[in-house]
């Protein structure tokens, strides 16, 4: 095992990822091979390697740099950690002039920096919105983490999720029995609240497969209630699957080659098995990107539509299909946090606003918003326990954004954001009594009048 010191715990057992750990002395050779392949596959990364002018525009747009003050967390500097290696092996200038042009050998010292700084990037793509040259540091981070996988350097936290998904089809590791028990409990709770029989079909042939986040079966109860009420209200022929109780796809963050692709393949396999015409993804930002952007392209062709529950809700509202009583949410002043991957990577921008305006009377935009919104601070899967203090630091800017709205309900339609915000907003209840963090379907569920 390597002697490199990392801020995150690493896992040595990479099963089920089919790679063998690279011996330290073979890392340079292996990295060169991986770069060679990358040059042919990832033109966005090659563009990033060739084109940065170090103008500094990205510095003040990155919440990680703003929160940590560490110059290596400036997006251009982060990408430089990879650029140095690219120059060394693939540019004439770097081969001839070495460190004079910023080229470096990938030694243990640099590898240590790779782990430490590519795992301090939230892959939020906000820097890409502002970069005059269009450099997307998230793509660089994703490629760096992919190379680290092949070198056997993977966070324990990410691996624990990859292992759970491989075993159960969801991040939390919820087995079928618990899934059914939870659905029965949700049905009972809805009946108790509304007097209406709302069913949550599991593993049924249906027209729609709903893919929630597994966290909806643990912490985000009201999100699942909102989704179930919604499908009932539109009279949908729907089901969830105990084999894919997970919209999230952590592979997007660190391992496209195996972890992301295998979860996308699972989605296609199960959707086909259940004979659905449509897959509807639940409240998960990055999972929406993996499903929408990479499933038809990498695991397709797919004989079904892939949509998001917020798109479905917005469309139903515009059709006049939902009976909503927004006054049910009058105890709330709601602000919307746009999840990075929903708003910057897969076009879920106006739909949440259509839904919110129909469900609540007091909706206040935070600034900046939409594609310019700041990340929650845990994007890229930085939800590890050992990163708690870091996670608090990098969300100072988010707390300021929310504070300026005066909101007492922070609507964050993404499970990573929902998990990060209780950390980021620790103690905020003293400032804003009754402050609550929740999803968007939660608010739909509160406002829906069921018949």
């Amino acid at each position: 095992m390597s002697a490199i010191k990392t801020i995150i715990h690493l896992e040595t057992d990479l099963h089920p990822i089919p790679v063998t750990t690279t011996e330290p002395e073979k890392r340079v050779e292996r990295t060169k091979q991986l770069f060679e392949r990358m040059k042919n596959q990832c033109r966005a990364v090659v563009m990033a390697m060739e084109n940065c002018t170090k103008c500094g525009r990205c510095a003040k747009e990155c919440h990680v740099y703003l929160g940590t003050g560490d110059p290596d967390n400036i997006p251009a500097a982060r990408a430089d950690l990879m650029r140095a290696v690219y120059k060394k092996y693939f540019t004439a200038g770097g081969k001839l002039l070495g460190s004079f042009v910023g080229a470096r050998e990938l030694d243990d010292e640099l590898l240590e920096k790779w782990v430490n700084y590519f795992y301090q990037c939230n892959e939020c793509r906000r820097c890409a919105v502002f970069c005059p040259l269009g450099i997307d540091t998230a793509e660089v981070t994703i490629m760096a983490r992919q190379i680290l996988v092949y070198l056997g350097l993977v966070p324990k936290f990410h691996m624990s999720i990859a292992k759970q998904v491989d075993k159960t089809g969801n991040n939390m590791g919820i087995p079928k029995g618990a899934c059914i028990d939870s659905c029965e409990f949700i049905e009972d709770e809805i009946r108790e609240e509304t007097g209406v029989d709302v069913k949550i079909p599991v593993d049924q042939k249906a027209e729609i497969l709903y893919v929630p986040s597994s966290a909806d079966f643990f912490t985000n109860f009201d999100t699942m209630v909102g989704a179930a009420k919604f499908f009932h209200a539109i009279g949908a022929n729907w089901t969830i699957s105990s084999e894919i109780l997970e919209a999230g796809n952590f592979g997007l963050f660190f391992d496209h080659d195996f972890t992301m692709k295998s979860h996308n393949n699972r989605l296609v396999r199960i959707a086909k098995k259940l004979g659905v015409k449509k897959v509807v993804q639940g409240e998960c930002g990055h999972g929406w990107r993996a499903a929408r952007m990479y499933t038809p392209s990498l695991s397709g062709p797919v004989p079904f539509e892939i949509t998001h529950i917020i798109e479905e809700a917005a469309a139903a509202i515009q059709r006049g299909q939902l009976k909503l009583d927004p006054s049910k949410n009058d105890d709330k002043i709601v602000t919307l946090h746009d999840p990075c991957n929903a708003v910057r990577s897969s076009n879920l921008m106006e739909e949440p606003r259509i839904v919110l305006r129909a469900c609540v009377n007091n909706f206040v935009e935070m600034y900046p918003n939409r594609e310019k919104n700041f990340c929650c601070g845990s994007g890229g899967g930085i939800l590890m326990e050992e990163m708690i203090e870091w996670r608090k630091k990098v969300t100072q800017v988010k707390r300021d954004q929310v504070r300026a709205t005066g909101a007492n309900y922070l609507c964050a339609p993404c499970s990573i954001c929902k998990a990060q915000f209780p950390v980021a907003f620790e103690g905020y209840e003293k400032e804003v009594p009754g402050f609550k963090i929740g999803g968007l379907m939660d608010l739909v569920g509160y406002a829906l009048v069921l018949e």
Binding site: H9, S160, N171, S182, S213, A215, F218, T219
Partner: protein, 106 residues
Amino acid sequence: MASIEVNGVVIELDEDGFMVNPDLWNEAVAKALAPTEEVTGELTEDHWKVINYLRNYYLQFGIAPMIRKLTKETGFSLKEIYDLFPTGPAKGACKLAGLPKPTGCV
């Protein structure tokens, strides 16, 4: 890897202090883990109600129950659970009940 010794048995713990082998759990282990999760003083009847509910659910279903189900079945509000286990149901309560650390977006 960290470990604690309880009544002569070595209990291995992961990086976050959760039991590596939940089968080795017993009440003495819960008591030994309590101070690591800011649970001070003796474990009360209320603590045991939460711990035993989590433990039994885990043994039956192989996973922690939904938090809402935990609050409903024990009769404690979320705030009361935080009063009992300051680090929360997913961390403090699950750890003392010998469950593996809930993973994913929690």
